[in-house]
Amino acid sequence: MVTDNDLTKHLSEAQVSVEIQTEDMTLNIGPQHPSTHGVLRLVARVNGERCFDVRPVIGYMHRGYEKLSEVRTYLQITALINRIDWVSGYANEIPFIVAAEKLMDVEVPERAQYIRLILTEMARISSHLIFMASYPLELGAATPLFFALRDRERVLDLLEGVTGGRFHPNFNRIGGVKPNAGAGPTTKKTPQDLPAGFLADTRDAMSVVLDTCEEIEDLVAGNEIFRARTKGLGVLPPEVAAAFGVSGPNLRASGVNFDLRKVEDYLPYDKFDFDVVVGENGDCWDRWWVRLQEIRESTKIIQQAIDGIPPSGPLQAKVPKLIKVPQGETYVRAENPKGEMGYYLVSDGGTGPYRLKIRSASFSNISILSWILEGVLVPDIIAIMGSLDFVLGDVDR
């Protein structure tokens, strides 16, 4: 019988006497690096290709939006907050506006609700298409980038048609959406809301997006190298994800069935039939796959919303000319493309918030980096980091 002691003795005798002396190297990835999505800096201690300690350094893009909000009016703040996560600017506005409406006790007209919902889902599609474009690029495949960006442009064109801005729509008003929006002749008597043919164009665009999903799935998911690079890599167990406050598709990829669209009522999602996509293993592959499926679910929601939108009706609830939010505080959170986005709004009855705390998804999502990047190879740093899909504006605010 071999005891532990014998084994250790045997191993120590069998050990080859040649031991290479290696020094650790500090590799500074970023703030200027092709794949840090902006100005994230990672200080990695590496031994050869193996990295054993990663420290993310953030704050290179801090713009002080929380403080700025205290000296701005509610109308001005929407222009700031859609610059937080700029790849889904429209979706950022919703929870803030809903928080203010909640304090003012304003009922938003149904048509405005539907328009908000359609545009939010379109922002989600455009954000996820960016991920579909950039993630294979980080693994070295350049072509999916062009496929995804080409059709994202269709979605953004439609968003621009309604709101006037591709990235920074600034379209929501307290009590509804901006009246007189979109193209077409406008007179004071009959305000236009959506541009002519918008709904039909959106329906077309959705089928194009679905085709692109097929195309991307063929090109990327069917690729052996892509599978080999992502499957089983960067596994994020659900309890760790929850402990770090990871949310959104990253959390669902770990197998947690949690979607604020099903839980909260900031937009009338309960009227639509869609699935919450949940991954199995929580690896990079699942995070990629969940986002691809979420694009498909979003197109489903938009198709249903186009069918269900009231053909006409007011876009704006009755609100006073000078908006003052009554004293109080509230927290509204929403399922943004990157994860949970929440605004903790404290009002002292003025024209602007007394204090606005922004809970952004990417900030919590990248807090996992030093945990998840421990002991991985240098190429996998990029593969895992990319799969978390963060935006630096959303991290630094």
């Binding site: 190297m25 590799l27 500074n28 690096h33 092709p34 794949s35 290709e49 294979p136 690029l137 980080e138 693994l139 070295g140 495949a141 350049a142 072509t143 980038l145 062009f146 496929f147 080409r150 090109l219 690729n223 190298i225 892509f226 080999a228 690079r229 190879l377 240098v378 190429p379 996998d380 740093i381 990029i382």
Partner: protein, 335 residues
């Protein structure tokens, strides 16, 4: 008149100068041609237009404009760089590539130097470039460059073996290591060796991709991880040297593959007497076919990870190549 010209060219030094001039014009020309092909093909694959305005039509002058641009750029050597090594590296890479042109038969008798160990020479000289890459990575005084250079060295060790072993099958079949001898052997058996050496051909092309450090094996450059790998600190005409070497190397390795496996300058049903003139065209046609596949791969696949590449080389390609050699040798003896 013609006799005097032949007389002049029979002089060793004159013919040497002529050959050098020919190679010196061929390398940039091929580099530009393939670079332009890559731009246009990748644009086609990615629903883009690609270069369009330079030169007035189809952007044909884009690569010339790029070349001129590179010469205008500042020749930057980092302060901490090991200057002589840093400057020698691109030259060494280009030399390794240019020397390969020596043994490629473009037609019967159309070869710069028909060495009796042609293919051996080609394989040996093609790895000189990797030393240049390692030098570039080491001397740049940049951590990304260093990692890129070391990756290139690791890749060389893993991929030189399958490359050499894949060639052995063809050499056994031809019974000679001379490049033109291998083509003549294919003419005499009446079919290109790829018909029986398809395993060898596949291994050779895979290993050639790794040798070229092109996607899916571009880990030494890996722009999303290592910024630009060993090229990070290079600018201006030194960068141009690397650029030219990459495309010229694509041409030469494809030409070697075409010679060993696809019949070189010979095509079935083309009369042998006309090969003096059609030979170069046939070879270039085959080379373009192979380079097209390389470009196609480049814009379709993601990148392997270094350890996955090593696994592929040592556990799949080398055993396959060895089996291929054993079977070829046995059949050669039996038949």
């Amino acid at each position: 008149m013609i006799e005097t010209i032949t007389d002049v060219f029979s002089n060793f030094w004159v013919s040497l100068a002529g050959k050098l001039l020919l190679v010196a014009t061929m390398v940039p020309l091929i580099g530009m041609l393939l670079g332009f092909a890559e731009m246009k093909l990748s644009a086609k694959m990615q629903s883009r237009v690609g270069p369009y305005f330079a030169g007035g039509r189809w952007g044909w002058a884009q690569l010339i404009a790029d070349g001129v641009k590179f010469f205008q750029k500042e020749d930057l050597v980092p302060e901490d760089a090991d200057s002589p090594v840093f400057k020698a590296a691109p030259i060494l890479v280009l030399v390794g590539t240019v020397s390969l042109f020596l043994v490629i038969p473009f037609g019967p008798g159309l070869i710069f130097q028909d060495l009796s160990v042609g293919i051996f020479y080609a394989l040996a000289i093609s790895s000189v470039g990797t030393i240049g890459v390692l030098m570039a990575g080491w001397s740049s005084a940049n951590k990304y460059s260093l990692m890129g250079g070391l990756r290139a060295a690791g890749q060389l060790i893993a991929y030189e073996r399958p490359l050499v072993l894949a060639v052995v099958g063809s050499v056994i079949m031809a019974g000679t290591m001379s490049m033109s001898g291998i083509v003549e052997a294919q003419i005499s058996v009446g079919f290109p060796f790829v018909v029986v050496q398809f395993v060898g051909f596949g291994i050779f092309m895979t290993a050639a991709l790794a040798e070229l450090a092109r996607i899916p094996f571009d880990m030494p450059i890996a722009e999303s991880e290592l910024v630009m790998g060993y090229l990070t600190e290079y600018s201006g005409f030194r960068f141009l040297f690397f650029f030219l070497a990459e495309f010229a190397n694509m041409f030469t390795l494809s030409a070697i593959a075409a010679t060993l496996f696809l019949g070189g300058y010979w095509l079935p049903f083309v009369p042998e007497s006309s090969l003096e003139f059609t030979g170069p065209l046939i070879l270039v046609g085959k080379v373009f076919l192979l380079t097209f596949t390389m470009i196609w791969f480049r814009w379709t696949f993601p990148r392997f990870r270094e350890d996955q590449l090593q696994t592929l080389a040592w556990k799949v390609l080398i055993p396959l190549a060895l089996m291929n050699i054993a079977i070829t040798a046995t059949l050669k003896v039996v038949l």
